[in-house]
Symmetry: C2
Amino acid sequence: MSFFDDDTQLTQGPPGQYQGQVQPHWNIGSNPNGGYLLALAAQALRRALPTQPDPLSVTAHYLQPGLGSQPCRVDVQTLRQGRSLSTASATLLQDGQPRLALLASMGTLHAAAAPMLTLPRPAMPPPEQCPPRSGHAQGVSLPILERLDIRLDPSHADPGQGRSQVGGWIRFRDGREPDPLACLLFVDAFPPALFSRLGPVGWVPTVELTVQLRARPAAGWMQAQFWTEDLSDGRLIEDGALWDSQGRLVAQSRQLALVRLPAAG
Amino acid sequence: MSFFDDDTQLTQGPPGQYQGQVQPHWNIGSNPNGGYLLALAAQALRRALPTQPDPLSVTAHYLQPGLGSQPCRVDVQTLRQGRSLSTASATLLQDGQPRLALLASMGTLHAAAAPMLTLPRPAMPPPEQCPPRSGHAQGVSLPILERLDIRLDPSHADPGQGRSQVGGWIRFRDGREPDPLACLLFVDAFPPALFSRLGPVGWVPTVELTVQLRARPAAGWMQAQFWTEDLSDGRLIEDGALWDSQGRLVAQSRQLALVRLPAAG
């Protein structure tokens, strides 16, 4: 076992109901990281559909912040069960309140094989030459960095006009190897891509996060890149991608987030 | 009124239930276009949340093909009602079977203003210099092209290594101007981007489609671009974007689709 496996464990309640505990070790400040909550909810989907355990596409809408040291319940409803693909929805609740609503198509991922088309892995220095993500940001502590080793590509600073990006490397500190569930956490564990352009502009709460898992990752460091090319009217879209240690694309992500910029002038 | 307004009309049934009719005029072959079904289901979300009528982010998972000339029912469940943003799920059923499952964050879109960051509008010839999309493809007829005027950018053929793309212009033939609901149709009305690289390789069924609406479009032709940079293991991701006649980005889209390529050799 590992911290991540321990902290995403669920016990089966009545049919379609799973119980767990949201652990504070994955917090950003005093709130659980959105990717951790997504992984917890996706764990319930895996349990409900054991022969199609991998989210080929999963969307989460964040209804209310989670509670970092409290039990949770995940209700799963299977909408369609197919031969190679099934669709299910899930709701993660704490304190009787829905926090996260999910919709997912589940199937079975394979190890990454030669793709016909693929997003090329970005060039960046190896993890040893990339500084670690700081355990504090904007006056809040990031307990999650005691669980995750995140290195930031120092060359990301200005990717050019119209784009803000952040990239680097990620792995569990306790040596647990990445798998599809871990990818759901990893796509939401870097600083917002916007910060590289505007600096830390405050809380950037996620409205919706969609992850397409494309292949089962190989063991080792994963490489990540996130970028924002669309910010207007107080909302931004952040795209992301993860590559495994073999350089193969294993996940794409996109989120809609709110941003409250200081008034100009 | 217009054909699109007529064909996405719903009547209120019991609380949270809306009834409509799937019209065959939006078919691709004998199946309703996925974007049309999405617009129909989103119409029910608009009705259920009249003060926040615009899908800021909506995800649809396609459970079964729709039926082109049959009644439909859309069940809506509001998951969270907020001051500026609400979240709801919806299911479109025909013949007692769920066809489409939706999860959406609803709010209010504004006319596009100066963005802080934005995807630049691609250069392409004006609509008059772009050939219309053919009303037949791979042996099936496309009745939807009697409703939609779609022009294809002739310069898209090969955007370079690792990417397949299609782009062009789109508007309603009856002069109805675009709005957020129309954008949900428009992001799924072009030929698959993959075809520009591989030719028509057969049916490319959508598993999941997510659309982020970013602004209320101005009147006139809309410009569209769709591209695939990720195809492996029988699944592809197609990204898309729509710009209005003022050149402002109004929507982004991403879908996961299945593709069955003829065996090599």
